[in-house]
Amino acid sequence: MKRPAGYGADPTIRWTEWLPWIAAVAVFFLLPEYLLFGARILTYILFALSLDLILGYAGIVTLGHSAFFGLGAYTAGILAARVGLHDPLILLAAAAVAAALLGVATGAVILRTRGLTQLMLTLAIAAVCLEIANKATPITGGADGLSGVTIAPILGLFRFDLFGKTAYLYCLLMLFAFWWVVRRLVYSPFGAALTGIRENTPRMHAIGAPVYRRLLIAYTLAATIAGVAGALLTQTNQFVGLNVLGFEPSGELVVMLVLGGVGRLYGAFVGPLAYLIAQDVLAKQFPQYWYLGIGLILVLVVLFARGGLLGIADALAARRRRRGMA
């Protein structure tokens, strides 16, 4: 589906939009041995969805989105391992608040800049967060990571099991909830305004839109969702490592989104799925060169399918429609 937004857009959920959810439920029953991997994919889909809100819709190019993901992950981990808070929903809420606060504080600065300056500032923020996590060893575990993260059963009923059943369903429910929120945002006047800002910022100023405020709200919301995704990763892994912060996870996320299709809502679903499965398969087949495979896929997408994998699907569907009409 191509860029759903605007006053002429029909907000009714189409049948094709239920397909990812049907597939996700089918995976739960048909592929029980892959549920932990599935939970990881669902977490990254949520993370990518948060990036799509600011990159795809608002046009904010960032290489520092992992700062919020990492902060969420460490907030949940530290509260569980050091403070003794184990309730998963409280940990999610705490991670969301922490990421939102970082989002509003950093967004207030970086959104006053544009282009390369903005990109470098986002990168710097992620790098600073990584360095803090690395140096604050007594709290974060530093390079060894934070272990001893114990998560209580969800609502006191559903214990996280070794096979990832609870984790998978928990991540799926959270993704569904935030997908629904993001979808509402995208179809709202706010979503249309974000698209307008991406398309033509001077014109948005000229129609009297408070551009900076809109961007700051979007940036903070995206940070909050990324923080939740980070907390989900901590809860399902019961461990936090430095690999959740810095340039690498941020860049990897941008690659996932570009692969799926930027500004399409469901590109955030397809990209991480394709990327993480390709990574899993290629890493098994070619342990030393698997990045080459990912790189080749990305080059092909950028050269021949600017709209990502969903763009290819759109083009094929359009061709079929044209043939049907002819």
């Binding site: 605007g6 002429g8 179809y187 709202s188 979503g191 398309e199 000229a206 839109a209």
Partner: protein, 249 residues
């Protein structure tokens, strides 16, 4: 009588280069006022200062009697200032309807609503469609604006500005780039604009200017050369010399 728009001794310099030098401009409510001058005279700079896109080096801008010199672009729009751009500044990948509806939503204060779908804001959509009908663009409402012919894109520019219900409308070369066969359509649309709006038009098409404007200000090298009714301007030898050419009249 309160003026719809007034600039007092407005100046703008970029280093040693002065592009606006003590420009006084006075627009009464409902007037059709043209700002003409050769390329580089500082016309667009003046518009950018009035809209708040550029900060003046000195001088003041009044909108409806209120000093708006230090207000943001958005605040000036909320006080009734609309503009079009010399080069199309549309939301290129969005539909024609969305291009117009975005402005109306901002004017009505619903542009930042986060929850209800945009299409559920029926009044915004209905008003956008009314405006499109006014410009003969009803059939194009769902088309991507980039796919429209250039002349129609210029009309969308004006429709967006009009959707803000401005009391003062700045039209920066509305017929620029439009083939002469289509420019009459622009003029017809301009002539149908509500009489209550004070319009400041910048235009190089002199036929359009002299048919449309009630007052004309001539700007040369950032300074006001003269101001008057179209007939006075056409007869002014200084204007003929610097701008219109001796052949006119």
């Amino acid at each position: 009588m309160t003026l719809a728009l007034e600039t007092r001794a407005l100046c703008k310099s970029f280093g040693a280069l002065t592009v606006a030098d003590r420009v006084d401009l006075r627009l009464e409510a409902g007037v059709r006022h043209a700002l003409i001058g050769p390329n580089g005279a500082g016309k667009t700079t003046l518009v950018n200062m009035i809209t708040g896109r550029l900060a003046p080096s000195a001088g003041q801008i009044f909108l409806g009697g209120e000093d708006v010199t230090r207000l943001s672009q958005a605040a000036r729009v909320r006080r009734g200032l609309g503009r079009t751009f010399q080069i199309n500044a549309l939301f290129r990948d969005m539909s024609v309807l969305d291009n117009v509806a975005l402005g109306i939503a901002e004017r009505d204060g619903v542009g930042g609503r986060l929850w209800r779908p945009a299409s559920a804001h029926v009044r915004v959509c209905a008003e956008a469609l009314e405006l499109l009908a006014m410009f003969g663009l009803t059939d194009d409402a769902d088309r991507r604006v980039l796919d429209l012919p250039y002349g129609k894109q210029r009309l969308v520019e004006i429709a967006i500005a009009l959707g803000l219900r401005p009391t003062v409308l700045l039209l920066d070369e509305p017929a620029a780039g439009v083939p002469s066969l289509e420019s009459h359509r622009i003029l017809e649309s301009l002539e149908r604009l509500p009489a209550s709006i004070a319009i400041l038009i910048i235009e190089h098409d002199m036929d359009l200017v002299f048919r449309f404007a009630q007052r004309i200000t001539v700007l040369v090298q950032g300074e006001v050369l003269c101001e008057g009714a179209p007939a006075e301007i056409a007869d002014d030898p200084r204007v003929r010399r610097v701008y219109l050419g001796e052949r006119r009249g």
